[in-house]
Symmetry: C2
Subunit: 118 residues, 2 copies
DNA sequence: GATGCTACTTACCAAAACGAAACTACTTAC
DNA sequence: GTAAGTAGTTTCGTTTTGGTAAGTAGCATC
């Protein structure tokens, strides 16, 4: 009798690893929301971004942006105005998350609808 | 002078909320991977699922499955064999995550490639 | 009757994530 | 000189999450 084991093909295993990697890079409560905000808006200054993401503390936003920058999903640009302003935007790598963000956005909206219907 | 504030349209705000909701439902290190495994394989028994998700402890798997069940993404079926077996599968609600899972899978695979190229 | 399989649970602990509040440093405006 | 806006950092503490190891309970096999 064959043991019920890996029904998963190699391609599925690869995709599964992909899901895991993506999850790891977007870990935590805020990263997807930050990426989504930058995706929908293009650019944001620190204060302006924090105003658009309800409930996030500056310390947390700062840390999350650093993480995203380290993984090359977000670009940070200091602009030499008075006072100094800093702009955040998605890198091309970050922009390539568009399908993920859009799928999550849509699914979330539909999920909410389907819950309310009951 | 206009204050640089909500450049985001109402539709974007809605999508953003959707992203947040999705993120909340799939929070933590394992939920997306569990959903993806069930998506690629259809059904899994507890032990078999735990074998396919490397590194997850039974306690954690149990808890994550309960969370997913509570949010109606996963269905749990007890089958009265000897010894008892339990099957887990996605609900239709869970299956509707297909776009999210596929987008994450693909992006992850591509990200890995692009990192290795350097 | 000891071992092993099923599907978990329990107890305990460590680490990471998150959060509130205050503070820094610079400049402009009043 | 006082307040307000820029972009954060620091401190401290709580909460959540994840992990290890062992235990449970029923049955089946050796």
């Amino acid at each position: 009798m064959k043991k019920e084991k890996s029904q998963l093909t190699d391609i599925c295993q690869l995709q599964l690893q992909g899901v895991k990697d993506t999850q790891d890079l977007l870990s935590g409560k805020w990263k997807t929301v930050i990426v989504a905000a930058l995706y929908y808006n293009g650019k944001f200054r620190f204060m302006n971004l924090s105003r658009h993401i309800e409930g996030i503390a500056p310390k947390v936003l700062s840390k999350e942006l650093k993480d995203l920058e380290m993984n090359q999903l977000v670009k940070r640009t200091v602009i030499d105005t008075m006072p100094i302003t800093v702009e955040y935007e998605l890198t091309s790598q970050g922009k390539s998350l568009n399908k993920v963000i859009e799928a999550m956005g849509e699914w979330g909206v539909n999920y909410r609808k389907s819950i309310l219907k009951k």
